[in-house]
């Protein structure tokens, strides 16, 4: 049974994704860390699909569709922000901070 190994690897990958989001300032790299978290969850779905039934694989299909849509819109937002601020660093996105 690969289930427990898959769950452990998935937990570690998800944690690395969270650490990356907390560690980086570049918006594109943070976005890639979010993709890493989505993939860690996909691994859990596929591992459980082997034991519980093929519905988990169908769900991974939907996660991929949503991730593709999210990547397209998110990168378009990053492009628009770059055009506005000449930077993708989250340090420079402090509009709500200056009061």
């Amino acid at each position: 049974m690969l289930l427990n190994d898959a769950l452990v690897i998935s937990a570690i990958l998800f944690t690395l994704g969270v650490a990356g989001v907390l560690l980086r300032r570049n918006a594109i790299v943070i976005f890639m860390c979010v993709e890493l978290m989505l993939n860690a969850v996909n691994l859990t779905f596929v591992a459980l699909a082997q034991t519980i039934g093929v519905g988990g694989q169908v769900f991974v299909f939907f996660v991929m569709a949503v991730a593709a849509a999210e990547a397209a819109v998110g990168l378009a937002i990053i492009l628009a922000v770059y055009r506005h601020k000449q930077s993708v660093s989250l340090q420079n996105m402090n509009l709500l901070k200056d009061g």
Binding site: L7, V46, Q50, T51, A69, V73, A76
Partner: protein, 171 residues
């Protein structure tokens, strides 16, 4: 044998994910993430999900990561510049929170599913023998999950329109 191969690919995925979050250049991060995605595709094959593994390579490693690299190169962020990794305080917070999270997720290593929801071993492989590797996923997709499938197509259309509207200078 399968177990050893699975653990090797898991190790590759974890090491390249670690490199992905620590490389300074966004291009290097993206390429290490591609390695992670390929290792995950190999693990999907070992977990009897060959169709999902093919989708992973085509959609994730093929399309989404190319989009990322395209944006990085379009914005000319590939050259080595000042690091965007946070200082010692940010590093400490990230490591502490990630460690706490890993500590909370540690029971997954011994988790056992209740036997009432488990299928007999090898039943997914048997279903794939019977319906084909694509058919085993496509059958529920166009039957029980038909409405979510159609909603996903509307979502993708909205994403296409939204991306064009956001990224275009002037409509």
């Amino acid at each position: 044998m399968t177990h050893t191969v699975f653990v090797i690919f898991g190790g590759i995925a974890i090491v390249s994910a670690l490199l992905c979050i620590t490389r300074r250049s966004p291009v290097a991060s993206a390429l290490w993430l591609v390695v992670t995605l390929f290792a995950l595709a190999a693990m999907f094959v070992l977990l009897d999900a060959q169709f999902i593994a093919a989708l992973q390579v085509l959609v994730y490693a093929g399309a989404i990561m190319v989009l990322f690299l395209f944006v990085i190169m379009l914005l000319n962020l590939g050259r080595p510049g000042p690091t965007d990794i946070k200082g010692p305080l940010g590093l400490g917070v990230a490591v502490a929170l990630a460690g706490a999270m890993l500590f909370l997720l540690r029971p997954l290593g011994q988790a056992a599913l209740p036997t009432s929801i488990q299928l007999p071993p090898g039943s997914v492989a048997a279903l794939q023998q019977q319906r084909g590797i694509v058919g085993a996923v496509a059958n529920p997709l166009f039957d029980a999950y038909l409405i979510p499938f159609e909603i996903a197509s509307v979502l993708l259309l909205a994403a296409i329109v939204g991306a064009v509207v956001l990224a275009k200078r002037k409509l």
